[in-house]
Symmetry: C2
Subunit: 353 residues, 2 copies
């Protein structure tokens, strides 16, 4: 049988958890005009929270969807062979068909030469959406120069860690991270090699945060990679030097609120300081439209400039728990839900008949 | 005698006016190593308000300074001849020496071939700082595409009017202006040729403003040129379409407040809408470092794509009144203080001896 993660009901306010999702079993479908694929890794990402609202893209009683990686089980297309590995954006259905129309519409990437079947988590991480987000935000939006100081919020998360490692190891920047709690801060400085990490749980106000930044970097910051929002943003703007750039990637602090609180900004300060605040998504880099995302990232992983950090949850039934971990600080690095045959997924011969 | 505008005392809060300035008379100085010049036009600009604060660049008992245009009276330099016209940034002293060091440090531009002596007001307007601000903000920061809709606040002012005319007549954009009162709005649509103009005095809240924008442009705006701040900014962000750009040039609404009120921004909205907010100053364009400011503007004036609007105040003694007009809506287009010999300035032969 194939297993599907359904959203029980939309959720405007509050913490998402296992109670909001349901697993349903359906027969494995016939192939159709394209591919039959088996998912090996399913992603839980902060942006999905907004899509769960009544105004969002997920609908009650319908499957969740997002970034996945997996293996081709059957193919009617010459460019895809049985056993090929891929990354893509699909419904969270453990075994499913992918039509030719779907292949054209969504960013389906071949991972066969880049990772082994056991490393398929990378397809939703460093070589997937979070990787393209870190890469595009840093290279395309912030445009680092050697000697710049960057602050990365959410530094223990999937995107933030990679931003800091690339900034430091590839561009020669001084890198400040922020994360919640001493364990995550240790990970950020010890494993990821950031120069400093601020425990935001020790900051109860924007002023505290500004003091903490000024303590490790008295001259302030040249770049800020925004994953959090709220007082993080306001502290960053206060510490931003002339010619400073802010890449807005996410604002997880407000994702569970009914009506998000706006951030405060003194736009006058932007003028003489020649500062820029810019929102972006990973898409241009993920689909290969700008720069060389897959090539550069695979190279930097191989060279050891980029350490991969993953938090695993096993079995498609754990989706709600994996998703909730994002909002309660339960993950470091990329959250990977392993759903391949060894974790109860896949198409058993009996089920296929 | 030469006349100097002195700042009596710094002013942190409140409306500037004639009572804050004093005119002192001093003998015309000897030439020194560079030039002796006579000012013909002196500029009153909104940015000068911030410089009057105790934290600003102007000091109590010292001369005011800013953008000027004028004529060379004597020269020790082969590249400048008697009678040459220029634009520059100098103290507000009707006849003064300009040393070789000063010529190197400040953006001194030759206007001899571009304007007549009677048109020297252009040297502090379309061919000066406001022109470079309009040109650079539109071309370098907002980067218009044909068919885009732009909203320009302060549309009856020196910079705003030019931004809208270039956007419409050179780039083929739909142009919405905002200004205070029906007379200014008429100027903006009738003389400057904007498609629409919103009287901001009819809007008592951000919501009113948003309604007014939506009424003339139901789909919102692609670009916003910010001269005002406060609810103007918040309304613009609310109407900004995907791929929208905001150029922050000024925020005059808060310039007279002790502690400016921050603007509110929902940074989450920037992300999926791929929006950018960027501050800038005119300098790179004014000094000729980016694009071709003087050449393009002179051409567009000649082709009639750019109508020049000026509000004149006469005699250096009127500086305080001219400056105050910026904050009480007393000007349309560029405020030009005429200070040449026919307005009581200049170096009389008797005074020179």
């Amino acid at each position: 049988m194939s297993k599907t993660v359904l959203l029980k009901a939309t959720l405007d306010v509050g913490m998402p958890g296992p109670e909001h999702f349901e697993i349903v079993h359906t027969p494995v479908p016939a192939i159709g005009d394209g591919l039959l694929v088996e998912l090996h890794a399913i992603s839980a990402d902060p942006y999905m929270r907004g899509q769960m609202r009544s105004t969002g893209g997920y609908k009650a009683g319908k499957p969740m969807a997002g970034f996945v990686s997996g293996k081709v089980l059957e193919s009617k297309l010459p460019e895809w062979k049985v056993g090929d590995l891929f990354g893509g954006n699909l419904p969270y259905v453990s075994v499913q068909t992918v039509s030719v129309a779907q292949l054209k519409a969504s960013p389906f990437r071949r991972l066969t030469e880049l990772v082994s079947e056991k490393e398929l988590g990378l397809g939703i991480g460093a070589l997937g959406m979070p990787g393209a987000t870190a890469y595009g935000g840093l290279i395309g939006i912030l445009r680092p120069k050697a000697g710049d100081t960057i602050w990365v919020s959410g530094a223990a998360g999937a995107v933030g860690g990679m931003v800091g490692m690339i900034a430091k190891n590839v561009y020669g920047c001084t890198v400040i991270g922020s994360a919640g709690g001493p364990e995550k801060c240790s990970l950020v400085t010890q494993k990821f090699g950031f120069d400093h990490c601020i425990d935001y749980k020790t900051c109860s106000s924007t002023k505290d945060f500004i003091k903490a930044i000024r303590k490790v970097s008295p001259k302030g910051i040249d770049m800020y990679f925004e994953n959090v929002g709220g007082m993080h943003f306001e502290a960053a703007m206060s510490c931003l030097r002339p010619n400073g750039r802010v890449a807005v990637c996410g604002a997880i602090a407000g994702y569970n609120d009914a009506k998000p609180t706006p951030e405060k900004i003194h736009i006058t300060n932007l003028i003489y300081n020649l500062q820029r605040v810019e929102g972006f998504t990973c898409e241009p880099w993920l689909v290969g439209g700008r720069d060389d995302f897959l090539g550069d990232m695979a190279k930097w992983i191989k060279e050891g400039k980029l350490q991969v950090e993953e938090t695993f949850f096993d079995g498609i039934e754990s989706f709600g728990t994996a998703f909730q971990s994002l909002f309660v600080g339960g993950n470091t690095g990329k959250v990977v839900l392993r759903v391949g045959p060894e974790y109860g997924g896949g198409a058993t011969p009996a089920a296929k008949l």
